[in-house]
Symmetry: D2
Subunit: 281 residues, 4 copies
Amino acid sequence: MRATQDGRSAVRVPLLDHGYIELIETWGSDQRIIESARMSTGKGFLGWGLLAVYICRRCNKEIPKEEVYEAEGGGSGHTGCWSIVDVNSKPGDEKLLRYLWENQHATPFEFGGMVVEVKAPIMVFREWHRHRSQGFNEASARYAPLPDENYVPAVERCMAGGGHLTKQATAASGAQALTEPDALAWLAELADVYEHAERVYQSGLRRGVPKELARLPVPVGRYSKMRATTNLRMWLAFATLRTTAKNPAAQWEIRQYADAVGELLAEHFPRTYAVFAEGRK
Amino acid sequence: MRATQDGRSAVRVPLLDHGYIELIETWGSDQRIIESARMSTGKGFLGWGLLAVYICRRCNKEIPKEEVYEAEGGGSGHTGCWSIVDVNSKPGDEKLLRYLWENQHATPFEFGGMVVEVKAPIMVFREWHRHRSQGFNEASARYAPLPDENYVPAVERCMAGGGHLTKQATAASGAQALTEPDALAWLAELADVYEHAERVYQSGLRRGVPKELARLPVPVGRYSKMRATTNLRMWLAFATLRTTAKNPAAQWEIRQYADAVGELLAEHFPRTYAVFAEGRK
Amino acid sequence: MRATQDGRSAVRVPLLDHGYIELIETWGSDQRIIESARMSTGKGFLGWGLLAVYICRRCNKEIPKEEVYEAEGGGSGHTGCWSIVDVNSKPGDEKLLRYLWENQHATPFEFGGMVVEVKAPIMVFREWHRHRSQGFNEASARYAPLPDENYVPAVERCMAGGGHLTKQATAASGAQALTEPDALAWLAELADVYEHAERVYQSGLRRGVPKELARLPVPVGRYSKMRATTNLRMWLAFATLRTTAKNPAAQWEIRQYADAVGELLAEHFPRTYAVFAEGRK
Amino acid sequence: MRATQDGRSAVRVPLLDHGYIELIETWGSDQRIIESARMSTGKGFLGWGLLAVYICRRCNKEIPKEEVYEAEGGGSGHTGCWSIVDVNSKPGDEKLLRYLWENQHATPFEFGGMVVEVKAPIMVFREWHRHRSQGFNEASARYAPLPDENYVPAVERCMAGGGHLTKQATAASGAQALTEPDALAWLAELADVYEHAERVYQSGLRRGVPKELARLPVPVGRYSKMRATTNLRMWLAFATLRTTAKNPAAQWEIRQYADAVGELLAEHFPRTYAVFAEGRK
């Protein structure tokens, strides 16, 4: 994970030209998901990886681990029978995790979650806020003026259309084919508008126009900040619609953030994210 | 209700300089709310206004209307007793509606709802979309360029701070006191930014910049359109936080839309809206 | 659809031995879904089935229908060019409906919905209430005693395990193989418990035990009633998890209700339900 | 908090005759709520209790703490001015917490939450599951037979009607006044039904009736288990409708659980719970 350390001892992943995503907190774990799912049968979490199974040669049944003992002379037996016990193995709770995901048993995935802080252009937040299961608290220009930071895409980004040429990512119908000089010229024009908008924003604030109106010229390329929270089930729904791996048709800018969300999920819920990444059958 | 008729035989309420709200559809009714609430007792809807009550003078009990008959000689009686029946009255189901609202029995209010179409500045939509129980479908500049319509507030609006001078509605700290000439001057500056932003937006589109990037200079004062849907319970939550009557601290612009929403609710769910308007004890 | 008419001019679909589902109301339509989805491009609803396309032989471009006219001598032309126009056809908005569903553009499906009244065993309601997007109002034994109606499954239902022998639908481990005489014997025992529970319920009510406690002996096989409401998106989620066609592993009893829900949806949103039934790629 | 320690090193609060509530996990904190709310202004968390304020005697302005220094000779000054600084105090972020709660700024309270495990009668779960913002995973008799544990209320509970004599908590209309001998007699009858229901449940399981049907005789007084999770905002909504302090009209049984939930919230979010307990103006 690309990461920088700042004074708050938290990790910020820089994104675009001025943005970032920062992990504030996670709760739950892969194990908690299993525990919750197992409420249905009362069995609880059994373990990850291969689990040992003890089988009595005479009874031909599985023996609880607690009843197995090392017999004198190098063998093993179990209480109640004293016969020899074979050790075998069966798959651990990764198997249940995969079953839950593939069969849309979704509630156990509500038993984990994550809070992040995000700095991104308003344009990105406009898409992000469509994910209504998330709780948001965002900077408000009604309360405090937004700093003069604006998103200027790289020339390559303009030229490549975000890598995935959906209809939306391409030019308007009847447009010219974008050349690099034209892209550079337009980026200079964009910087001009940004500068002009900021000048009029400040002029309004200085003259005494209410802050909530003075913001009218602010462009959707302006950066804002927010915290976002939801449970793991809903972060996976976000990742389904916004990560490059799952939906390359999403806009390139929000995919940068969603991919970073995915890396955080993979770090804190590694088994769940692996199952999610593989996908349903 | 201020309203204009357009070709679609629907009613649009004009708002701000270019915006509107239009009723697309409602479902349910005040009566449906009562019916749903009465599932708990199985009694169903009884009626509005004063309800007749029939009481036997001898039994001193309430008699079902079906058993009451006009007696010969001008009196009335009831089957099973043949004694005289007095007619009295009791309050109708407005009483239950009030009780439900005051005691936070909220689910019956999910049995009605409304769909509207809204044209408003992006700035207003940014606040509106915080109401996460609503379903939204909005115009997208990724798909089709947004028309060049932008919100220019009236001078009076700038001067009056939206009528309710919360901290947010007032000027930034250290600002001058806004004068009318300054307000006019700033509105002219605002118009300039709008014009400049549109020029660069069009330049981007023409040169072949992807539509989804060409929109970066678009200001939050630009108009967009959407449809919004939710149930009555959640429209009332919206009205609680955004109408002038319930929350004058909300921004003046969104209050214009919320007040229009309130008028539509009052028209289609008159008894519920009356109870809501009076408020909880 | 199996249906009976009752006094309320509404249609009830009888289910199990004493249950039913009754349509109270729908809102929206297949067309509304398209209209909402088209907010993104501003184009609106175009039509179902094959749509006529007019192409000028000279311009080689699509001509708006309004500009096409019948030319003298039997041909056709269009204003601005006067050249001959060919009529072709393209698929209507079923195509967009399918695209929306397949690509998980889910919000347009929030622009329709349905309210139903349901009578079912408590056991079925316990599963149904897991669908948390729905609004419920149910009969409450705190308010009024529940009538003595209880679910007695048919012998065939007991024997067949609901047709789909998942682990859950089968017998407990170590159980005997169910024989028809045993099934009949057990159903008689079940009827005994029902009778005994009702006797003690009534005894508690008569003696003055608070209604909310007197209900403790009521079995989960007892019938209750409710109204349920949600939007089409969420009814389809319900149908995904509970109809026989989509999830035969759901319990047979709730599948009877979900299949009836599906028939109602198919009647009122036929194009949407057809796309849903075909499924995602 | 009444609490017992069990093998899992977790704390269980015993409730009713066989039930409990156990804290599994919390996330967030009072401070996190403030941090999230302050996204709007960018100021962050300032502190609890009285906060020191430094004011320069000459400038008459507030000085950032970092610029204040101890002057030689016992006084203090600040960089940039070298004039004497007075220390004063202002209320800490409890004030903002109260403001948020009183003015229904609800989203910051979504930045904390809690997971609990609950064992309670099905009757209690039927009410609990109406709180649809919570995620639930419950024991399922489709998967594993429910143990034979049933709720038998104390005589005092039967007699006292749960302390708060709402209509629902009282006897059915026309019932006798409950006497202690009658209460005792009925509790014995209840125990009989419980025993009978269990016998037929086991008979069904043994004979090979599908587990999902064999459960039909199970009474709503039977205990079940679940895990429940949601954010602090929604736990407070639960507490509003179900704790004794906020809603004594809720059924006595669920109030025991809600009061225990309240104690857990008070322990882990003490400042928030204090503000909640005081209530809105």
